[in-house]
Amino acid sequence: MEKEYYVCTGCGLLCDDIELEMEKDLIGKVHTACRVGVAHMKESPGEAEYLVDGKKVDEKTAIEEAASVLKAARNPLIFGLGTSTNEAQKKAIELAEKLNATLDDTSSFCLGPLIEAILQEKFKTCTLDDVRNKADISFFWGSDPADSHPRHLSKFSYFPRGQEKQRGWEEERTAIAVDIRKSHTAKICGNEFYQVPPGGDAEFIEALIAGLSGKLPKTSFKFPPKKLLELANILKGARFGVIFVGLGLIYSLENLEPLIKLMDTLNEKAKGDFYLIPMVGHYNMRGFNETLFEKTGFVNSVKFEEGSVKHGPGYSVVESLKAKTVDAALIIGSDPLASLPHSIAKQLLEIPLITIDPCETLSSRKAKVSIRSGVSGVEAGGSATRMDGVQVPFRPAIDAKRPSDEEILSKLMEAL
């Protein structure tokens, strides 16, 4: 019998080799996934639940109430979508257009600028399969996949054998980490861990570029020049190098210029080529960015207005809440009351909220209307865009009792 494989939507890696053992109609055992993936796939699927003001109602009442909140709003915010399928995201964009809404996702305060630069071809990028097959340098900068993307190192970037890398990590791959603390990934990198002080990344990049160009690398925090030159030499020898950029680096840089300059220098000085892959956390944040980019030319922070699109940080979730420009919020698969600074998120307590989420969250507890949706890859099928831009289709593993985000958004659209 041919084996059936499922896709885990627990993080941006979208592992597609998951084997499941069913017990009655539920998932009993999850094989091959990491501990996060197992927890994610076994997240109790439960019954559909519709709440208005915390009281159970039927689907129709909840959808109608949500529609009337959105209709009454002058400038509703649609936010989240990092854990929705491509199909649901398209629906949400349509909904935003129809409502003249402000639309944003978490990328506006995390990796958005990097994804935008990749889509604008400011960086060379490659797929994770290329990494497994060819990479001899895996460089983790401000990223810690051992904690954030648990199977990254074993499936793609360090441990596996690959077509042109038959001797794997023991002989043919070097893993390097730059971070402000010795993360679990940094420990795996051993001697190739370079610790910088908080905010020191731009200077470290500058010094590394000097080192690559045969100059003496200097930093105000007195990083040993000899060690920096050793790093420059390792990088110069690369035939297929990849930098995995995480939030640690993005938050530390004022803009992407130093990184662009570093990538250009690496591509000029190294034996082979250097690529960049963004360490996207949510399984389909990149999908949202790409779909919105295709449609509007922007990856996030937009406001639709009678057929035209406005864009800028002023339309990001954070600035919209700070400036109190939005008067209702539809939150899909995100928990801003937990994940945004409280000093900013507290504005959400002043406006009516509609939440669509598989779990109860701090935000759903405060929602006027709260709808429980099915988990992608477990209860809902569709497709998503992996952190490296590869499309991954998936089907549900069990018969869902709860509707998908896509179904809920379609019904909301009809009710409007």
Partner: protein
């Protein structure tokens, strides 16, 4: 009589760096209102010398505060080398987010990983519970 309790608890300025933790992430997926998520989230990892200067032992609670908010979390030893006095680490969570500044310079990006706060002993006060 414990005269120490009449003295103001020593305070320490710390720069807090946030990070992600796989066990905490798993605990959140399983139950974001559960005990496991709280014990793995509501912590601050300090340099052993900083713990000493605050007169707290590992496992004791500390108050972290700044002009944006206040939380009570458990203090732990970081276990990191080299020493990092004045720099502390917290997993990303609603507890760390209580302290993040609302200053963004109009960029839309809060300084999640760059928090300044004052730490002092919470003298047995319980870890902050969330219900806004």
């Amino acid at each position: 009589m414990d005269f120490g309790s009449f003295l103001a608890a020593p305070e320490l300025k710390v720069k807090i760096v946030t990070y992600r933790d796989i066990f905490q992430n798993k605990a959140m997926i399983e139950d974001r209102f559960g005990e496991d998520y709280r014990t793995r989230s509501a912590i601050i990892k300090l340099d052993p010398a900083d713990l000493k200067s605050l007169s707290v032992k590992k496992g004791d609670t500390v108050i972290l505060k700044n002009s944006f908010g206040k939380v009570v979390v458990k203090a732990e030893e970081s276990g990191y080398e080299p020493p990092h006095r004045g720099i502390a680490y917290m997993p990303n969570s609603p507890w760390s987010n209580m302290l993040v500044s609302n200053e963004t310079g109009g960029t839309g990006v809060p300084k999640f990983k760059d928090i300044e706060a004052t730490a002092s002993s919470a003298k047995g006060e319980k870890v902050t519970d969330f219900e806004f």
